[in-house]
Symmetry: C2
Subunit: 347 residues, 2 copies
């Protein structure tokens, strides 16, 4: 456990390991984002991709967001899709439309043509950002590295962007199962090596985002996803705590837990206690509805109290939203949730 040699013990890392902590740690998915004036100031000068690819700026927005909110962990500023570019997919971000992958994968014969990534050579800017951030953060604030999971990455490759229905992804998966499995095995291998490289650069915890896997049934998850996600977790260095996250995954909790992760993300569709009861031996991360941050401090306090009561002080709870913070969120709401979690969970 790398950080123990050089740094003071962190509430966040101890919670990920289900050790007792003095208060429930909190961070916020997409905490360095549009809702934050510091972030918008940087984005006025550069595009989203330029920001991702300029380690100094990625470092700046990461560190500023952590400091502005007072959260217990920082997460690397990057995008889950960056790994797809060196694999051979053109990646752009259109204003208001999110990611666009050029020439979406619809033909099974293209699967074997995607390149394997050397993280140092092809994603050096991410690793440089990790190193800068680790140096710039307070010593007791851990840095989370991350990547998209094979299913979610494959879905972007096939849909060519976000989707409401994931019908192209599923049609590919159902019609070309052999090519699907080759694609996901390749993605798992590359994601695993990318995450290892992030740890070597200084990331102290990892989150695997399988953001859209909640669009599958449990039987589809078992057949088309589980082995590949498992391969990613097996490739990670022992001792680095891991979080496994998805949205709309309430029917997949047991399977995601089986696939891997010390802590499982619980989105806002579920009550935290009910979800945790289905995850023996795991910690949980979540699960405030991001919309609650729009409703004022009194309302946020009620919701924080309820979630903390559901967690019941058990070791292994990391407070977070159930999904990424929304663009128009009042900064006061984001700050309030951090303060309230610290205050109301203090033991």
């Amino acid at each position: 456990m790398v950080e123990c040699r050089a740094m003071p013990p962190s509430t966040f890392l101890r919670a990920l390991r289900r050790e007792p902590v003095p208060h429930t740690p909190i961070w916020i998915m997409r905490q360095a984002g549009r809702y934050l004036p510091e972030y918008r100031k940087v984005r006025d000068r550069v595009t989203f991709l330029e920001l991702c690819k300029t380690p100094e700026l990625a470092c700046q927005v990461t560190v500023e967001a952590q400091a502005a909110l007072g959260v217990d962990a920082a997460i690397l500023f990057a995008d889950i899709l960056l790994i797809l570019e060196p694999m051979g997919m053109g990646l752009t971000f259109e204003k208001g439309e999110g990611p666009v992958l050029a020439n979406p994968l619809r033909d099974a014969s293209r699967v074997d043509g995607f390149r394997n990534v050397d993280p140092r050579e092809h994603l050096g800017y991410v690793l440089d950002a990790v190193k800068l951030i680790r140096r710039a953060l307070p010593a007791d604030v851990p840095l989370i590295g991350f990547s998209g999971a094979p299913f979610t990455l494959a879905s972007y490759m096939i849909e060519g962007g976000s989707s409401k229905t994931f019908v192209e992804t599923k049609a590919f998966m159902y019609r070309e199962p052999a090519a699907w499995h080759r694609l996901c095995a390749k993605l798992a291998d590359n994601v695993g090596r990318y995450l290892v490289a992030q740890v070597e650069a200084g990331a102290q915890a990892l989150q695997l985002f399988d953001s859209w896997v909640g669009h599958l049934s449990p039987s589809d998850y078992r057949e088309y996803v589980l082995p590949h996600t498992q391969a990613v977790f097996r490739a990670l260095p022992p001792g680095v705590p891991t979080i496994h996250f998805g949205v709309g995954t309430s029917t997949l909790m047991e399977l995601m837990s089986e696939a891997g992760g010390d802590v499982i993300g619980v989105d806002y569709h579920q009550e935290l206690d009910q979800a945790w009861a289905r995850l023996p031996g795991k910690g949980v991360q979540g699960n405030l509805d991001p919309a609650a941050l729009f409703a004022g401090r009194g309302f946020i306090e009620q919701r924080v109290k309820r979630i903390l009561a559901q967690a019941g002080g058990r070791p292994g709870h990391v407070f977070n939203l159930g999904h990424g913070i929304l663009p128009g969120t009042p900064v006061d709401g984001a700050k309030a949730v951090v303060e309230l979690v610290h205050e109301l969970s203090a033991r």
Copy 2:
């Protein structure tokens, strides 16, 4: 039970009442839709709203779809949002963007200004369509009437259209609970009277679409939705079987069942047997992933077999997709699922 006086017993209506049936009945949500050439031919001449408001054409697409697929029930061609127009919301459908509600409701003081609807006076075109369809359909094919549920209607009024996050709806609900409850009570009253009028015009079963309620947590559902949905079901005439449908509702199944409905819709995120185990005393409708229809007859057959095996021949299963049929669905896929359900479930 109106239909028993005039018509032969229907497999579909018997299944809704959990009586034994010779085969599992099937219909397809949005079966009269874009994927069907007969439908596109009519839509080449009129807009979506014109189609809804021309009883002869609404009748034509309803009856043609039922005949083309050989499904066991027809569903009235209409839109869940039609009731909002006479209540005072401007409603248009933009090409490729779905419904647009003019001047979205963001100010609690507007709630009391929405009008109560007289279904005969304000939605006569829907009731005329019901009458025409009932006369045009084969006697043994029941007609399903429907409406949006209070939450889903309120969400469109507040968002002004579809939403990914429902943040405006939730912010309204959280910040203005009294106005929210007045709005939903008014919607429930109007929806209830609208559905009663559909039954009086000839609808033999009813489906309440709470399409987007799956964006709420169970505790939010109980607090903000359940009493209003319950009020709708309580307003319906006894003896008319009802279906209660939503998407992404796997954490809400017990609560939706408590709110009402003889049969609960099970979307494609769940395994049918696991969902049914949580719904004692209810039938279930579902739950093939709409994407499966893109994958060829052999694949569809596997999936139909699995769902029928999960249903285990218990009375009360109505086969359907887990959500509406998708625009690009191959017609052969839609026909195949109907044939296969009939063939493989024959007792």
